[in-house]
């Protein structure tokens, strides 16, 4: 398996390895280290009307509509809109995660004339021209979940730095299967930018911090739950005892993998139903997923940990950032932004707002969340 460095050949920067404690610290310190001298690299709308404090209409264009994840971000945006009172957001986007449809949708809203556009890009570069056009016609542009080239938008709300997610995933896996364990990955498609980045960062981080770990392979499963299930099952069958863990890179792949593990009766914990015959056969599932999707498996104890930021918060934050930007309270060079109930969020990488470190759901806390 040759080195996987993602679909966009961007440089990776693995975070420091966990040193018993303070690992988190290290991470955030690093972030702050950047925050010292932020020189803003985002774009600027051309003579945008001053709408400070006035009612504004926003459009939210996710990668695609009609999937659980973006249903959650939409929910967050509506919450924010209600809190603020002077914001109205409509969500509209392509029905397939196609960049060309997404461009067309955004273009229509530029023509229709909204005050601000929130987007999650299907492709960071391909989406740039239409976003630039938006800026040129005086529309504020803020990204979330999936970034574009910086100068094509003003701010990007980063749910969790790629390297942060990578670190969290790999660390959690390592803790369960040991530093010499072997694992495979089930992702959506190799061309999905976020997944590609995460995988790239994971590989870099694993090679840096867990050199003994064996990286078996990465398989595609689209956004299709049955296919994800089949792929996971195939991996289990293929490696048998030689595979200790599976990463699920999407909110679909992870529960599907968990289901596969359950039905193949190779769950790690002896107490769980569908428990593995022996220590050897056991397959640990760690992945990105919404807690709701994973509750069944966490309850049966087949899965211990699920990593994710809160997509509701993500949408929520995006709207706040947009509002602040329009109100002129959040200007280039700022180091943090007030995001309502989420408090102050730090600015990283010059023009990105960091939602915070990824959250790790476990049996203890998972029932406190509903998204």
């Amino acid at each position: 398996q040759d080195r996987w460095d993602g679909a966009d050949d961007l440089p990776v920067n693995p975070l420091d390895c966990p040193m018993a404690e303070g690992a988190e610290m290290a991470a955030t310190e690093e972030a702050e280290g950047e925050m010292m001298m932020p020189e803003y690299d985002g774009g600027e709308p051309v003579d945008a009307p001053d709408l400070a404090g006035q009612d504004i209409t926003l459009v939210d264009v996710p990668k695609l509509i009609g999937v659980g994840y973006f249903a959650a971000t939409t929910q967050g945006m509506q919450e924010a809109a209600e809190e603020l009172g002077n914001v109205s957001v409509t969500t509209d986007g392509p029905t397939e995660a196609n960049i060309d449809d997404q461009i067309a949708v955004i273009d229509n809203y530029i023509t229709q004339g909204v005050n601000g556009i929130l987007f999650a890009a299907n492709d960071p570069v391909a989406i740039a021209p239409v976003l630039t056009r938006a800026l040129e016609s005086g529309i504020r542009v803020v990204g979330y979940d999936a970034n574009s080239t910086p100068d094509a938008r003003q701010w990007f709300v980063n749910q969790a730095a790629f390297e942060g997610v990578a670190k969290s995933l790999v660390d959690n896996m390592a803790e369960q299967i040991g530093v010499d364990g072997s694992f495979a990955i089930v992702t959506s498609t190799f061309t999905t930018p976020n997944q590609a980045r995460w995988i790239a960062e994971m590989q870099a981080y694993q090679e840096k911090c867990y050199p003994e770990m064996t990286w078996l392979e990465t398989v595609e499963a689209q956004e299709d739950n049955i296919l994800s299930f089949n792929q996971a099952t195939t991996l289990i069958n293929k490696y048998g005892p030689d595979m200790d863990g599976i990463f699920g890179m999407t909110s679909i792949a992870t529960p599907a993998a968990a289901e596969a593990v359950t039905q193949a009766a190779v769950c790690p914990l002896a107490s769980s139903e569908g428990a593995a015959a022996s220590e050897d056969d056991a397959v640990v599932v760690v992945g990105l997923a919404t807690p709701n999707a994973m509750k069944p498996y966490v309850e049966t104890q087949c899965v211990e940990r699920v990593v994710l930021w809160n997509p509701v918060d993500l949408g929520y934050a995006a709207v706040y950032v947009m509002r602040r930007t329009i109100d002129g309270e959040f200007l280039p060079g700022a180091t943090e932004v007030d995001a309502g109930r989420l408090g102050m969020l730090p600015v990283v990488n010059n023009s990105e707002v960091l939602l915070g470190p990824p959250f790790v759901f476990t049996a203890e806390n998972i029932n406190d969340f509903d998204f």
């Binding site: 659980g68 190799f190 956004e223 739950n225 049955i226 289901e259 919404t290």
Partner: protein, 334 residues
């Protein structure tokens, strides 16, 4: 009759065994052979491929595709096509889940979508059979309507907290997953029906020569209605298997499923020109596709080239079938 019948065997000119064998079984035989070859080759590379567990999951992999492909075969044999099945599966799966979580008795939440599927089939059938709109147009239309409608209504909210016992596809009587039973039983029933029922035969007639069918007193519209309603039935079953395999239901349309189903049908030897083909072939093809998918993972094909190889293999099976037909034609002429 003036002349008494010769026993078929004794009239030499009547039976050419070579041809009989050639025409009846070959497509299925080819697929079966391809299946065996793959299993043997990959198995020799990696023994785990032929482990009982993996073979099971190969059969399980495309079970719901196979079920849907049964209906699709009939549609295609009748000289039509249905590109809306993917959307329909998504809609029916969502329906099933919604019913279940809203306290409808589980068995009902399994049955109602099947009827809903037949209803949808009836509507499509009506457009095709009585309003005389080409099936590709109708189903292209329905593809968007169903998909758009589903998104507008559910907005993609996942369905979860499904009641215990809803997971029909997760049942494993005698250690064999439920979908496999459905696949096998339905295939056999459909095959028998197609061969031994008048309507079953009429499908071939309508697909083969509309005008002639009309002249021999076959009501084309009625046959087409039957075909599309049946298709709806199989799609309904497929959608249940699809919905009940995991603990959650994405209330969304599975991408590209219709192409997979159509592929299974045509690779199964159903002539897209209508008038010929069998459902057994379609099911075998579905299994073959699943076996290929799994095999490519086992023999470590670079994941990037996976789909290319898949396409190539599909092409090869199709060509094999084609050359067989050629041979039969030749043996016929000569």
């Amino acid at each position: 009759m003036a002349v008494t019948a010769p026993s078929l065997g004794r009239s030499p000119s009547r039976i050419t065994p070579r041809f009989k064998l050639g025409s009846l079984l070959s497509q299925e035989v080819i697929l079966a052979l391809a299946l065996i070859v793959i299993v043997l080759v990959v198995g020799s590379v990696n023994a785990r491929y032929v482990s009982e567990r993996n073979l099971t999951s190969i059969f399980l992999g495309n079970a719901y595709i196979a079920v849907a492909a049964i209906g699709m075969s009939m549609v295609i044999i009748s000289g039509n096509i249905d590109v809306s099945v993917g959307s329909l599966i998504g809609v029916l799966a969502t329906l099933s889940g919604t019913l279940a979580v809203n306290g409808v008795p589980i068995w009902l939440s399994w049955v109602i979508p099947v009827f809903a599927g037949m209803l949808a089939g009836a509507v499509i059938g009506f457009f095709v059979a009585y309003l005389k709109i080409p099936s590709i147009v109708v189903t292209l239309g329905f593809l968007s309507i169903l998909k758009g409608g589903l998104i507008s209504i559910t907005n993609g909210e996942w369905i979860r907290d499904l009641p215990a016992g809803f997971g029909l596809a997760q049942e494993r009587p005698f250690g064999i997953p439920m979908p496999i039973y459905f696949m096998i039983v339905l295939t056999i029933l459909a095959a028998l029906w197609q061969r031994y029922s008048a309507t079953g035969r009429a499908i071939y007639a309508v697909g083969g020569n509309k005008e002639a069918a009309r002249l021999s007193g076959i009501s084309e519209p009625r046959v087409l209605m039957t075909v599309f309603i049946l298709n709806g039935f199989f799609v309904g079953i497929a959608s249940i298997l699809f919905a009940t395999q995991l603990e959650i239901i994405q209330s969304a349309v599975p991408a590209g499923v219709e192409l997979l189903i159509i592929t299974a049908a045509v690779v199964g030897g159903v002539s897209i020109l209508g008038g010929t083909g069998t459902v057994v072939g379609a099911t075998l093809a579905a299994i073959l596709l699943s076996a290929i998918g799994s095999a490519l993972v086992f023999i470590n094909v670079s994941p990037f080239w996976l789909r290319a190889v898949q396409g190539l293999l599909i092409l090869v099976t199709v060509l094999a079938d084609l050359l067989r037909r050629r041979r039969n034609q030749a043996s016929l002429k000569g």
